[in-house]
């Protein structure tokens, strides 16, 4: 089955993906951090039973992956594929996750909270992904007693997450705003609205590939639907600013040259570093959005941006590789995906 990040969604020119994540805890068990090993195993057993019960609407849709059996590469690949954060994979004992085949639905168990119920989708599809996370949450809550208080909402380990326990986020490609230096000013304005705009990866000040994450920080005092509507409204404004900035850049011959050279390099390179790939592919993505590159689609680009990440690339190759071998395999995968002609054709 095709992974969710290999498809394109609404407004893919700016939006790489949408995500909704719900933090939940069991009312009758200490939160992670104060649990015994036995309690950790029991939480995993109960969550799996709720998801895998043959009478459940979820039966057969989620596969369990124990974290403590994973190699570092397998664990890092989970982070590269945006299934789990670095904090979750850093301590693998007593943790696990349930994941759907297309990787658009997952439940992280015994991370910051007992459960993190997460749905993801391509493009600008926040309402749709929230709907799927909400449904998964409702099904699990039929057999799991979620900790809840009518004033504070869902009870979370960090009081900052009380209320809906929801983090809704959008992954945006903002090459033109990043180039103009406008992102810090926009981020500062959004911070006052209790929203966050920051680069993915780390350090987050100027991310490679101009990929940013916009998310809500307010969880208590407004409903999930209101939070999604607020974030949607803000995201539309940021996207319009990006498109306006792109229109200004698009007429510049130097920018057009950089886009064409980037595609040429990606289609012919024999060795490709990850940071170099991210910078070049960002320009190619900009070229598709501004019409310079008519023969490529966002699903190919966005799939590559995940699949040639170092750990994910190594896993797909099925063998350990030196750094140079990995750069060679990355270059080959990129050449084939971008339709470079084979030698002798």
């Amino acid at each position: 089955m095709k992974k969710w990040y290999r498809s394109s969604g609404p407004e893919s020119d700016v939006f790489l993906g949408s995500e909704a994540a719900l933090s939940r805890n069991l009312d009758d068990t200490p939160f992670p951090g104060r649990m015994s090993g036995e309690q950790q195993r029991e939480v995993i057993r109960r969550v799996r039973a709720a998801a895998e019960n043959e009478n459940s609407a979820l039966a057969g849709t989620l596969r369990y992956v124990p974290l403590d059996g994973l190699t570092e590469e397998e664990a890092v690949s989970l982070a590269e594929r945006r299934l789990a954060g670095a904090g979750f994979i850093a301590q693998r004992g007593g943790r696990g996750l349930l994941v759907s085949e297309d990787e658009s639905l997952c439940v992280l168990i015994n991370g910051e909270n007992h459960l993190l119920i997460r749905a993801a989708g391509a493009g600008f599809s926040l309402r749709e992904v929230y709907g799927r996370a909400d449904t998964l949450d409702s099904i699990l809550s039929r057999s799991l007693p979620f900790a809840f208080d009518r004033r504070f909402g869902y009870l979370t380990r960090n009081p900052a997450d009380l209320g809906t326990g929801m983090t809704a986020s959008l992954t945006l490609h903002l090459p033109a705003l990043a180039d103009s230096g406008a992102v810090p000013r926009i981020a500062a304005g959004l911070s006052r609205l209790r929203m966050s705009l920051r680069g993915t990866g780390f350090p987050a000040k100027k991310p490679r590939g101009a990929v940013y994450r916009l998310s809500n920080r307010m969880t208590l005092g407004l409903s999930e639907q209101e939070a999604v509507a607020n974030l949607t409204g803000i995201a539309r404004q940021v996207a319009e600013q990006e498109r306006e900035a792109r229109r200004k850049l698009a007429g510049d011959i130097a920018v057009q040259d950089a886009v064409s050279r980037s595609l040429g390099l990606l289609r012919s390179a024999r060795l490709l570093r990850n940071d170099e790939f991210l910078e070049l592919i960002s320009l190619v993505r900009f070229g598709i959005a501004t019409g310079f590159i008519p023969d490529l689609s966002y699903d190919v680009i966005d799939g590559l941006m995940i699949e040639v990440q170092p750990a994910t690339l190594t896993l797909a190759a099925g063998r350990t590789m030196t750094a140079e071998e990995r750069r060679a395999v990355r270059a080959q995968v990129v050449r084939e995906a971008l339709g470079a002609r084979r030698e002798g054709d």
Partner: protein, 147 residues
């Protein structure tokens, strides 16, 4: 060590991060840690509460033998303030009187208006308001058949 995020202030916290296919650690200052969601919820509130919380951050304070502990997980209020993490659902009941003002301070006094466990259908809560607003009827557009 200088904070790897802002490159200005001294780092005080280390967080897990993934870089170039490897699991590694990043050094953050307190401000950046707070901004990126890795901070302690209670940090910075101490001064606004007359130093009561600040005392609990100090080593050795608040661990008196007669300190009230949560009967479910054994956490004391001092444990919660120092770690920035609540021990269990019962802690919210045990320490309600001390936690509630801090939660109101951080969250701006709001009360929960979202989903309640058990489903996503509109539900009437004790306050009497519907959890999901009813949409206003759309105006019929020129001559179309209303569905």
């Amino acid at each position: 060590m200088i904070c790897q995020c802002c490159g200005e202030r001294p780092a005080t916290a280390f967080i897990a991060t993934v870089s170039d296919g490897k699991l590694t650690q990043a050094a953050l200052c307190a401000e950046c840690a707070q901004r990126l969601g890795f901070g302690n919820f209670f940090a910075g509130l101490g001064y606004r509460f007359g130093g009561v919380l600040q005392e609990l951050f100090d080593e050795g304070e608040g661990d008196r033998p007669d300190e009230v502990r949560c009967e479910d997980c054994g956490a004391s209020f001092a444990d919660i303030v120092r770690s920035g993490r609540v021990g269990c659902a019962q802690c919210y009941r045990t320490f309600y009187g001390r936690l509630a003002p801090l939660i109101r301070q951080i969250h701006g006094g709001g009360v929960h208006r979202g989903k309640v466990p058990g489903g996503s259908l509109p539900q009437v809560r004790p306050g009497g308001r519907l959890a999901v607003r009813v949409r206003r009827k759309a105006k019929p557009s020129g001559g179309g058949t209303p569905r």
